[in-house]
Amino acid sequence: MYGLLGLVVAAMVFFADWEQIRKSFFNVEIIKSMFPEVVTVGARNTIIYTALAFALGIVWALGLALMKLSSVAPYRWFATAYIELFRGLPALITIILVGFGLPLAFGWSIPGGTLGKGAIGLGIVAAAYMAETIRAGIQAVPRGQMEAARSLGMSSGTAMTYIILPQAFRIIIPPLTNELVLLIKDTSLLFVLGSTPQSKELTKFARDVMAAKVNATPLTVVAVMYLLITLPLTYLVRKLERKAEAEKR
């Protein structure tokens, strides 16, 4: 079976039209023309949009998770409805609703241009996903922890903040990393909001160069840029995870 796989790979390498690939995906002139803007504008904006959306999303997700676990029924209803709605809608549609729907309906638009609208639009979606992750994390902390904390005289709020949440977040580092990486790639949807030369993120940046040059090379360049962002990030999180694991012992 491995032999066959090797054969398939060898055949692909042999039959591939390398000249064609080089011309369409690795045009050196175009690669050169994209620097430094692909970093100073494209990558920079992708990172800023992601960071802001993630920050907004996680705060909002924590609130939603606590509402979902609340003993007050209307809180639970709200959180459930919110999560089902924004987890069910494509992110692109949510972004359009935030960017164009709000001003159409209320004559008021979120300030801050693409950054404001994009971060809030993506944050709304990310919060729905992360709320479920955080809820699962809280529920994964043994019940006895809360009972012990309460029996020491802590209020339930204090126990949640100092005993339960730190343990819960340790548990959910891997799924939260997943969400962060997804979010990095979802920033490519922000093109629908329109962009100024200074507000383009990586994918939009590539597509604009692509349209000007009629060549696919920009896609290769930003594909590498995305990996340069995500790989160190996931490496960092793995280290963090190992550290958390070691501390537990």
């Binding site: 079976m1 066959l4 398939v8 064609q20 011309k23 369409s24 045009n27 359009i96 960017g99 164009f100 729907g101 001003p103 159409l104 004559g107 638009s109 093109f191 629908v192 329109g194 962009s195 100024t196 030369p197 597509r207 604009d208 692509m210 349209a211 000007a212 040059k213 009629v214 060549n215 696919a216 896609l219």
Partner: protein
């Protein structure tokens, strides 16, 4: 396991066979619809000025026309033509020197004058009125280049397609749109109370059909000949009058 490798081998040879034979003799056209009235879908059929002109050209070449609505990205990356998905693209593509480095254009078939459309309640009457305001343009178009070259101090926001720009206009995110006269005129026609066409700017730029850089010289030559013939015998004008 044996069966799996057998299935794989069959699959691969089928794929090879399919690529080798490359379909029938129809001229496969890539486009990016909707962009009315140049290309759009009506009752499940692709039509519009670009499409109908291309159909007439295919007629001249004695071939059927097959339309593949592949989107703008595969066309603007050149991949649609290089990969053989289609032989030629017609998608209101403006001929620029930069683009001509990587694809070949037919002779120009349409002059793309630029125009300025403003929201009816904006009170703006010309490009200078956009100082400090938001102006919508379409990415990679002559309109975007024109706006940047004659920027009156506006915030120029680029959108992917006319649909997005007009949504932004309706939402008040932009006060006006600078782009090809065709979609602007179409919008004013359909929404006479919402927008006004206030200025037009003649540019020397025009649309061309696009083919891949190498190995399509014969096709390009026959397309150009067919186009010239259609202009001469009045078919071009007839199609033009159908759509404008």
């Amino acid at each position: 396991m044996k069966r799996l490798s057998y299935a794989l081998a069959v699959l691969m040879s089928t794929a090879l066979f399919a690529t080798a034979c490359g379909g029938s003799d129809a001229l496969v056209l890539c486009t990016d619809a909707p962009y009315p009235p140049m290309e759009m879908e009506i009752d499940g059929e692709f039509t519009g000025f670009d499409i109908e002109l291309m159909r007439a050209i295919a007629d001249e070449l004695g071939r059927d026309l097959e339309v593949n609505n592949i989107g703008f990205d595969p066309i603007t990356s050149g991949l649609a033509m290089e990969s053989g998905e289609c032989e030629i693209a017609a998608a209101s593509i403006t001929i620029t020197a930069e683009r001509a480095e990587n694809i070949n254009f037919s002779d120009p078939y349409f002059t793309a004058d630029q125009s300025l459309l403003v929201a009816a309640d904006s009170g703006i009457t010309n490009l200078a009125g956009f100082a400090g305001k938001n102006l919508g343009v379409q990415t990679g178009t002559t309109g975007e280049m024109y706006a940047n070259a004659n920027d009156p101090g506006a915030t120029i926001i680029s959108f992917e397609n006319p649909g997005d720009i007009f949504t932004a206009l309706a939402a008040g995110e932009v006060e006006g749109v600078l782009q090809d006269i065709v979609p602007n005129a179409e919008y004013v026609l359909n929404n006479p109370n919402d927008a006004d066409l206030v200025e037009t700017y003649p540019t020397d730029e025009s649309y061309g059909f696009a083919v891949k850089k190498e190995g399509s010289e014969d096709l390009l030559k026959s397309v150009n000949e067919a186009l010239a013939k259609l202009v001469e015998d009045g078919t071009y004008d007839q199609i033009y009058n159908d759509w404008f």
